[in-house]
Symmetry: C2
């Protein structure tokens, strides 16, 4: 391992060049004009992997219906490095597509030209999300090949090109390949999220789920003039706003009965993971751009982000939304809201509780309008454990490379592929981020600090050494 | 007068031909491509009036800024018929522009080609709103000229071409001409609204005002992801919906304290005007397309439309409004609502009560977000009296032509020009409609029943005879 770590450090400029080539391919999956670039990017990875001796296959995912236009979906790149049945097999997932980026959006430099600034930040679209981490794995393979070392584990790559556009076709492929291409996999590692802050690596072991709801109130056949009809008919907006106001209070407390009863109690052990997190309230204020935190401590704030449910009102479809004044009584309005779910909430129960509560509250109004409320989609929470050997291995790797114990974090949002791998393969999944919390993954001037890229490459390699030593 | 009534009846086809010519000019004021047609329509009226011996002037209103494009505003056509200082002078207002109309919108026939169907309905854009009534006045003048009769009063015409597009420039002109062109005016008559139902003429003596409010809640610097921030920050939508839900209850009762204290009590005399109105609950159901009436009687329903205030929630700017699902915490959201005002509500007081109430309710939430609520515009209610000689004269005319006492109605919406004439000229204003409640003025297949056009012409003439006999 020491040889490997030293090699990475010495050859860091080569690795930065590799990242430069990757960033130069504008593989924006959300823009049909860039679809050929997404394919070009898959080809780039195929060539890199083949050059390092990997056996590479691609899986065609067929066509995508893009607003009536038929587009070819970029392939899933599957690659295998090492085939030793004595060794463990680790599946690594990443994505090679990126978010859109235009100089006009406010970038300081051309987003598809990697630039290193005076603070050694590598600026460019995809540097951190997720080309840096994907190349990190490839750098690990290259270092071993160059050193004439065997990898401590077999690696299976699963790289997709549609992550920023809904991961179309990925789930089906994962379940399909679970007993085929992925059948010998012992554990999964995904490097596609971020450190909590900017100073300390973390392992991420939990994600919230989400249940999304549409609540429609229908009244008149068509929009009405409020002068003519105001005060004489039940107005859908009045009813909808009344029910929406009952869902959550201004302190974020969900008012739907039965929700909190499903939430797992905070154990003393879990409570302890919040003791030394490298995150300050100022970082929250910076991210939000205003001091509108509900809770005064980082501990409580992160518990509310990671392990407590929340309910957000997103908006209303069908009501007046433009600038200016319009005296309309909208004929039908659909309130959109969602609940972030956590252990041990059951999406079906959540949906039943919400629907019943909304119906009950609507009935209390005595309105002659009609209500339809239903869950439009739900994704379950995901929870692993920092005590799992996969995580223990990763924690050791962090200590080796960074000399600190990692933060043990969860995230408030969803990364659906995590749950898919866990459900399809029945193996432990580890989220091992490379970039920092301020990388601006979907924003302008996305960056990956040079040290994160290089130490991150070391970390991914060190993890493979450590995980080879544990029982998964 | 009998001669006149008979003449109109005998020459009705000539009058229909005049309407046909007017409808054929697509004077859509809201479409720059049709602006030349609006000018053409003003020219048509100028020629018609001149041919009948009127002295005609036009007033140039200058330019309009239409989304950055400079457009010439169509002129106000001012015309005088008769100049006898012994006679009263009646100002008649109307407009010669129309709403947009396209065959593709669902019209059964070309909207700019007058078609008479088997039920003698004259179908075409502007037939009822407002070319029919404007030509009605001209028909009256023509009949008298043809018969060699003097008009019982002097008439001053004020015809505008921007009514459907905000009446730009009209108010300033009215106030400017009050002591000039309009200085001898004794009373005003506007034929630009509709019967309550479809069977009985009405006189309209009141309109509600409107006070429009924007209530903005600001939180984070930019939209946030609900996965990352849900449960940790005060969300502007939660706060806004909470305050909006406090404004009005599902039965239409305004919850802002102090509003109802300003509303004039219903006198027994006013109560009696609701006794014999030609309107059925079924007509409300048809108009609304659903049985969502708050009140079970026409009496109470029309009182709520005409003489009680109402509060409607129109929508929210800044929130998610598209189809589909989006897990956004909107950074700033602006609720739009308005209050329809009635005697004796004072817009300034209404605004002060609403602002204070919203601020108080927002303060109760304990949110760290900020609230800004203000009135964006207000227009006062308008109230005349059915006992005014101008109305008594019109009621007699209705009895002469239709053989019934007119309904005495008010309307729930605003017609700002009514108040402008009253305020500028300090003279009584009468609303004397020609068309029926189902004419579909701003809708597809707009029509004016032949009988309404012809009897309406008789009514306008008969009114001039009656009003010449009273003291204004």
């Amino acid at each position: 391992m020491d040889q490997f770590l030293e090699y990475v450090d010495k050859h860091q400029n080569d690795f930065v060049e590799r990242l430069r080539k990757a960033v130069a391919i504008p593989s924006v999956s959300g823009d049909p004009a860039h679809r050929p670039d997404v394919f070009r990017m898959s080809e780039f990875l195929v060539q890199e992997l083949k050059a390092l001796g990997a056996s590479v296959e691609t899986r065609d995912l067929g066509k995508q219906d893009w607003h009536g236009q038929e587009l070819d979906l970029p392939p899933i790149v599957l690659a295998t490095v090492g085939n030793n049945p004595e060794k463990k097999t680790i599946l690594v997932y990443g994505h090679y597509d990126v978010q859109p980026a235009l100089l006009e959006d406010g970038w300081s430099t051309n987003p598809f030209e990697l630039v290193e600034d005076e603070n050694n930040r590598l600026i460019g679209r995809g540097s951190s999300d997720d080309k840096g981490p994907v190349l990190g794995w490839i750098n690990v393979v290259e270092a071993h090949k160059a050193l004439g070392l065997e990898l401590p584990v077999n690696i299976k790559f699963c790289l997709e090109g549609m992550e920023e556009s809904g991961s179309e076709g990925l789930d089906a492929l994962i379940f399909d390949e679970a007993s085929k291409y992925f059948k010998d996999v012992d554990g999964v590692c995904i490097s596609d999220n971020y450190w909590l802050g900017t100073t300390k690596p973390c392992l991420t072991y939990g994600l919230r789920g989400v249940s999304y709801f549409h609540m429609k109130v229908k009244g008149p056949r068509a929009d009405l003039h409020s002068g003519v009809f105001g005060g004489t008919v039940h107005e859908p907006m009045t009813d909808l706003v009344a029910v929406m106001s009952k869902l959550v209070n201004p302190d974020g407390k969900i008012l739907v009965p039965g929700i909190y009863e499903q939430v797992r109690a905070l154990s003393p052990e879990e409570e302890k993971t919040y003791d030394d997190l490298a995150f300050q309230m100022e970082e929250l204020h910076d991210a939000v751009g205003n001091k509108i935190n509900i809770h005064d401590t980082i501990r409580k704030t992160l518990q509310c982000r990671w392990r407590n449910p929340s309910l957000s009102l997103h908006g209303i479809e069908g009501a007046f939304y433009s600038p200016g004044d319009k005296t309309v009584i909208p004929a039908q309005v659909t309130g959109k809201f969602s609940i972030r779910t956590v252990p041990d909430m059951d999406p079906k129960q959540v949906s039943a509780l919400v629907v019943k509560f909304c119906q009950d509250e609507f009935a209390k109004l005595g309105s002659k309008n009609t209500l339809d409320v239903h869950c439009t989609h739900d994704g379950n929470y995901w929870l692993s454990s920092p005590n799992h050997p996969n995580y223990v291995a990763a924690a050791k790797a962090v200590e080796t490379v960074y000399g600190v114990k990692p933060d043990l974090t969860r995230e408030g949002g969803s990364i659906p592929v995590t749950l898919s791998f866990q459900d399809a393969l029945k193996k432990n999944v580890l989220l091992l981020p490379m970039g920092r919390g301020d990388d601006g993954a979907h924003s302008i001037n996305e960056k990956l600090d040079r040290s994160n890229y290089i130490k991150g490459t070391q970390l991914l390699g060190a993890y493979l050494y450590e995980v080879s030593q544990v029982k998964l």
